[in-house]
Symmetry: C2
Subunit: 372 residues, 2 copies
């Protein structure tokens, strides 16, 4: 992947003023990293304040608790990723203390949304497979009862896909009801866990650290003038190496039927073949954040990176949805028709996994079309 540095004489590049001052002769230094971390910490505090203001009540304006929760996750991921990629430029004790706390927070905050989205995906698939007309669905995350900002009622999920059961066969309807029960329960638990986490002293300690970060970034001596590009390039190399190790030739051959191999395997664990793709997804994200630290967040977005990331998100979502269908099928005493529908659904999602790999391969083989 071509790595272009910001050219300060380019009037179209438009770096932010804060970033401009962090460029020594056009080379982004540790000062740019500090600016990026300060900005992300500020965003974290803003999202947290917004989250507390909107509270458990549904959104009262342009922004709602779901947006706040999403912004919170977003900034946590970026701070955490930057700590990882630029570790040598940051005080070791500080970053090693904060890093696992951010991972805990990110994981805790993401679960409720993940379960809601998984249920939405599976119910939409069940309707598609039933040839039923699906009403335009509200995005699961925008539903008032979902996400960390609002109370999980345990009632029916808000996806419009569930409003019309009449079109489903008995098997598909029962499979949908079973998934709804199981994933809504998981979501409700995640909601409680997230609420508890946000009220815990552990969280307050993290929030305090991030509040300090918003004004003062603990760079190592000399880091302010150190070129960021070497560490960013290392992050990119890790990505490139991981992509090279993927079975891209197979993935680029449509209908290779690879994703459903082991679809009936006795091993109930997640598909081992998915792991390298999940890893590339994480490395791609780290690479994107490193680019943001170097070039600022105001510049052009690399469409290719974005599309590749979306394909890998879809891969992850379909993989987990397929596992949820398989897991639901192991519920004791279900009817054969329910199990059959879950089998069709599982295979459908595994083909989504395969389709996502194909999309990633197609996107990756193209040359980068825009760099900031």
């Amino acid at each position: 992947m071509a790595q272009q540095h910001l050219d300060p004489t380019d009037p179209t590049a438009g770096p932010s003023p804060a970033l401009g001052s962090a460029l020594a002769g056009g080379i982004p230094t540790g000062e740019a990293l500090a600016g990026y971390l300060r900005a992300q910490a500020t965003e974290f505090l803003r999202a947290l304040r917004l989250h507390r203001e909107t509270g458990p009540v549904a959104g009262n304006g342009a922004e709602n608790p779901v947006d706040a929760a999403r912004a919170l996750r977003r900034s946590v991921r970026r701070i955490s990723g930057s700590l990882h990629t630029f570790r040598p430029l940051l005080e070791t004790d500080w970053s090693e203390g904060l890093q696992p706390e951010l991972a805990w927070l990110s994981g805790t905050l993401s679960m409720e949304h993940a379960y809601a989205a998984r249920l939405e995906r599976l119910l939409l698939a069940l309707h598609r497979l039933s040839g039923a007309t699906v009403l335009p669905a509200q995005p699961a995350a925008a539903a008032p009862s979902s996400a960390t900002g609002g109370p999980a009622t345990g009632g029916p999920p808000t996806a419009a896909a569930t409003t019309d059961r009449g079109n489903l066969t008995v098997g598909a309807a029962k499979a949908g009801a079973l998934l709804e029960r199981q994933l809504t329960l998981a979501r409700t638990r995640s909601h409680s866990t997230a609420l508890q986490a946000l009220g815990s002293s552990r969280f307050h300690a993290v929030a305090d650290k991030v509040a300090v970060l918003a004004s003062e970034v603990p760079l190592t001596p000399g880091a302010a003038a150190t070129d960021l590009c070497v560490l960013a390039a290392a992050a990119e190399d890790r990505l490139t190496d991981a992509v090279t190790a993927l079975p891209l030739v197979t993935a680029g051959s449509p209908y290779n039927a690879e994703a459903l191999i082991h679809g009936l395997s006795p091993d109930p664990a997640p598909h081992p073949q998915d792991a390298p793709w999940h890893q590339v997804r994480l490395l791609l994200r780290l690479h994107r954040y490193a680019r943001e630290a170097l070039h600022g967040t105001d510049g052009q977005i690399d469409v290719r990176l974005l599309t590749a990331g979306q394909a890998l998100d879809r891969h992850r979502d379909a993989s987990e949805a397929a596992a949820a269908a398989a897991s639901a099928a192991r519920t004791p005493r279900i009817a054969p028709a329910t199990a059959y529908a879950l089998g069709v659904l599982h295979a459908d999602q595994r083909h989504e996994v395969e389709a996502a790999r194909f999309a990633f391969q197609q996107c990756w083989q193209k040359q980068a079309v825009s760099t900031p």
Copy 2:
């Protein structure tokens, strides 16, 4: 599709001597059709004699009853197709009397092989889906106990895929056993039906008519000198029109997930979306046979037509295998794990349907690379 006529000056085209005499100034006439029908009728009689000689005992030389049964079906399809395409050139009473009898014979003779191949396909898929190592399978058609030539024992089918059940999960193993039971029963019945048919007076009447055809083709007055190309072109036009009506844009977009729509539909009937593809398969066959009548069977084969035909065969086979899995899942009192495995299997075969459509689209959009 470009239609090239035989150039008698082309030394590579190599028409058979019989065909050469039927070309008036390079234009194939009704005399060529008569030659083709005589050849196919002779082939029918040869296959029938071979079938009677090898009898119900397994093959005792280079050719076995399976080959004989296949050759019988092959010639019946070609005679029947030619009667259809070149109807105006043949005596109406004769062709209208023979046509339905050939259709009956073709249908009766093909069922046993179809059930054996369907079981083979489903068991191989179950093994693939279980991540099990599949031993190199003997083609189902070459198995001594299969096809009209040998007795259907009702015992375990001969596909090597079934020899190793140890690698299958309980659900997959039970699904395999259920399919084996149902499809072996169907195959045994088809075997008996075919044997009865071959001993019936109805069959002897057909065989007598074909024996007459081997020496004397009832052309209409003037047909011997009539250009065949117009009727052959009409057959090609029917094919082209039917292909044009197919959703080829969708089919050419990999992972369009179209084939599994209605995968859980309440309607247990065969997928209506498959019908136009089955129709194109039949029209493609008629077009191929018309080309054979015009240009002889010794000439070059149009690889594109052959590949397209194979894709449509695969489409038909996968469509019927998917229906068999869905039908097995409706067996009363099966275990949920069995139903789940059948659901995965059904979806897998529906994706095979989609893959076959993609393969057809890819092949069809290429220019014809060789015409005789």
